[in-house]
């Protein structure tokens, strides 16, 4: 998409530049570029020529004329005089020389290419561009040896980092990753500004060559540039912690340069979305914060702490946040405090999180207050300390707070109260996933006529805490206390899904089959049958799943689960790829 966007931008730029006042055009007249786009090449050529007659050195028009005459109308000879006049007008313009070279090479072959290359080199002896174009043209013809010979000549005459870069690129074309790496190393040693290009080019190294490439880049005596390049490659290859070790050793004393390197590394490591990436991001941001002062340093420390928290490094996160709170502005302090409370709650240190929360409650951002309060409450729920969870929520009047209260009521077995809270929370508060979870539970509860059922609450709480085996046993037992058409089937479907989530498909099939037969005309039947089919597929028994799916699709045609059933049906039949 980027390429397409860039092309669009380029086209717009071309269109804009050829309508400059050099040649007056009425607003209604299409520009030569527009004519070209419409396939009216003859007319476009006339337009481009008119611009060049008035302004022989107009590069945009010259490029347009090249596209039309050479690529579309096969009138290359026509092009030559316009090129000659353009060179005369601007003898040192590289783009004009490029057109001269391209036309000579593509239309008149190797001898003309060599001649154009020489003309260009004579006019601009210190330019590396002719070597690039000629070498890449030869490479494009499959003559990689010829391409390298041209670059030898460039080395003799100029010998700079650019030539080393071109050589490295040609060598990649030849599949010689090793040689390419050594030339990239030379390019970055000569000019560290090539590190980005080198990293980008070598990032495509096939996996099996990567370690050797690394050794080649680093060499026996690793230079700073080589270490920085290696660090960049490692993070691009998904090995961020190894990359961090190299980067940390090679960081330049200059704070501005070091900051740029650290930020780039941290961004790339974060994009990996792995624990290792998050950890390396944390290291880089912490180091960056040490080179900063005041609020900037505090913000970076908070970002580092978040990265460490993402990596599960809670001690490191806390250490940084404790430092942040003593050095930043009030806003930064509040952000740091919120992060610290989040880290503590996620780490199960609820008492400390609660103390800090109430200490900071009035100074935190509104969104943070609700989020942290509910996070701590959920922490207590899972301990399970339901009263303490309810106490944390005492001052919470938010809609999302209602939802959490609903879960607390449910786990206490107060089914009617839970329904009220869930209904009050509505179908769309919190994340979509959480809203779906809540809506599913509300549907289950609405089938149960009992006002309360502490055993059901206890079983569901066990399930929430991850004690699936015990939870399922309890759910199966409590299900028998409900009538078949008033909650039993739903509770069993819930139990069957829990088993599936734990990959205990054998038991899931058993429970779901009972659930289905408990109320095959009830609203939970399609859900039971679909979950059953999924479990059968997971057990490698798709042929048993097929009649279940067929039955579901044909019997419950209005069910919202039919599209999912049909999708699974198609996957089993090989009609669509497995997702």
């Amino acid at each position: 998409m980027n390429a397409v966007r860039s092309a669009a931008v380029l086209l717009l730029m071309l269109a804009a530049s050829v309508t400059r006042p050099a040649i007056a055009q009425t607003q209604a007249d299409p520009t030569p570029s527009q004519l070209e786009r419409r396939g009216r090449y003859e007319e476009a050529a006339v337009g481009f020529k008119a611009i060049l007659d008035a302004e022989p050195g107009n590069v945009t028009a010259l490029l347009g004329l090249e596209r039309v005459l050479v690529n579309r109308l096969d009138q290359t000879a026509e092009m030559l005089r316009y090129i000659a006049r353009a060179i005369e007008a601007s003898p040192l313009h590289e783009q004009i020389r490029e057109v001269d070279f391209r036309v000579a090479a593509s239309e008149f072959g190797a001898d003309s290419a060599e001649a154009a290359f020489r003309r260009w080199g004579d006019a601009m002896p210190l330019s590396a561009a002719p070597y690039r174009l000629y070498a890449f043209w030869l490479g494009g013809q499959g003559d990689l040896e010829g391409a390298l010979a041209v670059l030898d000549r460039g080395d003799e005459r100029i010998g700079n980092a650019r030539i080393a870069q071109y050589r490295a690129q040609i060598l990649i074309m030849a599949g010689d990753w090793l040689a390419s790496a050594s030339h990239w190393r030379r390019a970055v040693d000569l000019d560290p500004a090539y590190a980005q290009a080198a990293g980008s080019s070598l990032s495509r190294t096939p996996v099996e060559y990567r370690d050797v490439i690394l050794q080649t880049v680093l060499g026996i005596r690793p230079t700073t540039s080589a270490q920085l390049l290696s660090a960049d490659l490692l993070v691009r290859w998904g090995r961020p912690e190894e990359g961090w070790t190299l980067l940390d050793r090679a960081l330049p004393p200059n704070d501005v340069q070091a900051a740029a390197l650290l930020r780039r590394f941290a961004d790339r490591a974060g994009q990996l979305r792995t624990l290792s990436g998050a950890r390396a991001r944390g290291y880089a941001l912490e180091r960056l914060s040490e080179r900063q002062t005041g609020a900037e340093a505090s913000r970076t420390r908070v970002a580092a702490a978040r990265a460490f928290a993402d990596a599960g490094e809670l001690e490191a996160a806390q250490r940084l946040l404790n430092r942040s709170r003593t050095r930043g502005s009030e806003t930064d302090d509040a952000v740091a405090a919120a992060t610290l409370i989040r880290v503590l709650a996620d780490a199960g240190q609820l008492a400390e999180a609660e103390v800090r929360f109430f200490e900071w409650e009035t100074r935190l951002r509104g969104d943070d207050v609700d989020d942290l309060r509910q996070r701590i409450a959920w922490g207590w729920i899972l301990q399970p300390e339901l009263d303490r969870a309810a106490a944390v929520l005492a001052k919470d009047s938010s809609v999302t707070g209602q939802a959490v209260r609903g879960w607390i009521a449910l786990y206490r077995g107060e089914l009617a109260t839970a329904k009220e809270h869930f209904a009050a929370a509505g179908p769309s508060s919190q994340s979509r996933e959480e809203a779906t979870r809540r809506a599913s539970m509300l549907v289950l509860l609405q089938r149960i006529q009992a006002q309360s059922s502490p055993p059901l609450g206890e079983a569901l709480l066990r399930a929430a805490r991850g004690d699936t085996t015990e939870a399922v046993e309890q759910l199966e037992a409590v299900a028998t206390t409900f009538p078949a058409t008033a909650g039993r089937a739903e509770v069993l479907v819930y139990a069957g899904r829990l088993l599936s989530r734990q990959s205990d498909y054998e038991n899931a099939v058993r429970v779901l089959d009972v659930a289905f037969h408990a109320d095959s005309a009830g609203p939970s039947a399609p859900a039971a049958e679909l979950a059953l089919a999924v479990a059968l597929v997971k057990l490698g028994r798709p042929q048993e799943a097929m009649p279940r799916l067929e039955h579901l699709i044909l019997t419950y045609q209005e069910s919202a689960l039919v599209p999912q059933a049909r999708r699974l049906f198609d996957q089993i039949n090989g009609m669509i790829p497995k997702s």
């Binding site: 690529n71 494009g140 013809q141 499959g142 074309m173 039919v562 198609d570 790829p577």
Partner: protein, 427 residues
């Protein structure tokens, strides 16, 4: 192409023979599968129609009636299958069918008898997943059976066993889609090279380009003898180049050991090709483009064009049933999609080629059709109608998420088109 030109190509046999309307059905119940926006799964609807033919029934394709609906004999089996597939259908009484026929008679519509499900072959190397090719994806999704054949089957004469052949992104110039230099070292490319070279060697050809030229010639003969060819993506352009290059070396050194003939353009024999003429070849082996037949040049940075949308032509159903069948759709304008060959330059089309869809105002067309000998060919540019930017390694398209895809309908029109019965030629 204008309609009167189309008569020049297809007019004689069609005017003489054409496609028969079905004799009036007895007043029993029929099943109408509408193909307008009320249809919940357009693609599987083709599968229902195809499988009903396969089961020995006949059916009708109601061209332009509710965007190309199908009228099938009603049976519990078809209804069950349609319900399972999520295909919308309506049961029509005899009187309802009479109403439909009345509407068809009074409008630019036609009823074409579908008689026999064609035997379908897809030309693809072994091991290719169905998801690598838009047509196999569509066939798989619609539940239409097909067989996969490749060079050995073609060279050994097995093509004659099939009525319909599909080609997708095979490079008939034998240059591995010209990815050889830019993707050197990639495992998939190395496998492709090994596979092709092994096949050429085992069939006694000196190199892959020679093998592919032979395959191209046999495909040409297949069409000439009255069969149906449907090609997409780069198979369209490279098949043409391979046919026209009977006297020229158009393959790069890496594929046949000798560089491309610098005068290859002058040696091309365009009288051998189906659709194109006077194309200029791309001589650089580094650019994954073959000639200027493709209007979009997706892999040629200097000439790459942006995607627009293409418009299907509206043909007269009673006079031009063949192109009408090929453009049946519930959308007239369809977003374009890239392929190694995305579109076809207008100025490279041979006279007599029927343009089925084009981008208005652009120098390229998207969808073309023509005859050779007793058979027909159809070309659709682009790789995957629902993955416009398709890149190597992209995840496969899941057609259950595009069950109403107008682009995929064009593909399935082609699969069903050979099922239409031609009337006996009148004398």
């Amino acid at each position: 192409m204008k309609r009167r030109d189309f008569f020049g190509v297809l007019g004689a046999p069609l005017l003489a023979g054409g496609f028969p309307s079905r004799p009036p059905a007895p007043l029993d119940r029929s099943l109408l599968i509408p193909m307008d926006d009320s249809q919940t799964d357009h693609l599987k609807a083709y599968g229902i129609a195809y499988r009903s033919l396969e089961g020995g029934s006949t059916g009708e394709w109601l061209l332009n009636y509710r965007h190309g609906s199908f009228l099938l004999d009603d049976s519990a089996g078809i209804r069950r299958e349609a319900a399972l597939a999520g295909v919308t259908f309506q049961q029509l009484s005899g009187a309802g069918v009479v109403d439909v026929r009345g509407e068809i008679a009074a409008n630019n519509m036609e009823s074409v008898l579908l008689e026999k499900a064609p035997k379908v072959a897809v030309y693809a190397p072994p091991g290719l997943a169905p998801w690598d090719d838009a047509v196999t994806m569509a066939l798989q999704y619609a539940g239409i059976e097909y067989e996969t054949i490749w060079d050995r089957e073609v060279v050994e004469g097995e093509l004659s066993e099939y009525e319909w052949l599909h080609l997708h992104h095979e490079d008939f110039t034998g240059q591995y889609s010209k990815f050889y230099l830019t993707y050197r070292g990639s495992a998939w490319l190395e496998q492709m090279v090994r596979l092709n070279q092994g096949m050429a060697q085992s069939l006694g050809f000196p190199h892959v380009p020679a093998l592919k030229k032979d395959v191209a010639e046999k495909i040409r003969t297949f069409v000439e003898r009255g069969k149906f060819l449907f090609a997409m993506c780069t198979a369209t352009e490279t098949l043409e180049l391979a046919l026209a290059a009977s006297d020229a070396d158009i393959a790069a050194q890496y594929s046949d050991g000798s560089p491309m003939d610098p005068n290859a353009d002058q040696r091309m024999r365009w009288d051998r090709s189906f659709a194109f003429q006077n194309a200029r070849l791309e001589h650089s082996p580094m650019i994954a483009s073959f000639s200027d037949i493709d209007g979009h040049q997706v892999n040629n940075p200097v000439r790459r064009q942006q995607l627009g949308a293409f418009k299907l032509f509206n043909f007269a159903a009673k006079i031009d049933p063949v192109p009408t069948m090929l453009v049946q759709n519930h959308r007239d304008v369809i977003p374009d999609f890239y392929g190694l060959t995305t579109s076809f330059a207008r100025n490279r089309l041979k006279p007599g080629v029927t343009i089925l869809a084009d981008e208005q105002g652009a120098p390229w067309v998207k969808y073309i059709h023509g005859e050779l000998g007793e058979g027909t060919w159809t070309y659709l540019g682009g790789h995957d109608p629902e993955d416009p930017q398709h890149q190597i390694g992209d995840p496969p398209t899941d057609l259950s998420l595009h069950a109403n895809s107008p682009g995929y309908r064009l593909i399935l029109n082609n699969v069903l088109f050979p099922a239409a019965k031609k009337r006996e030629l009148k004398t």
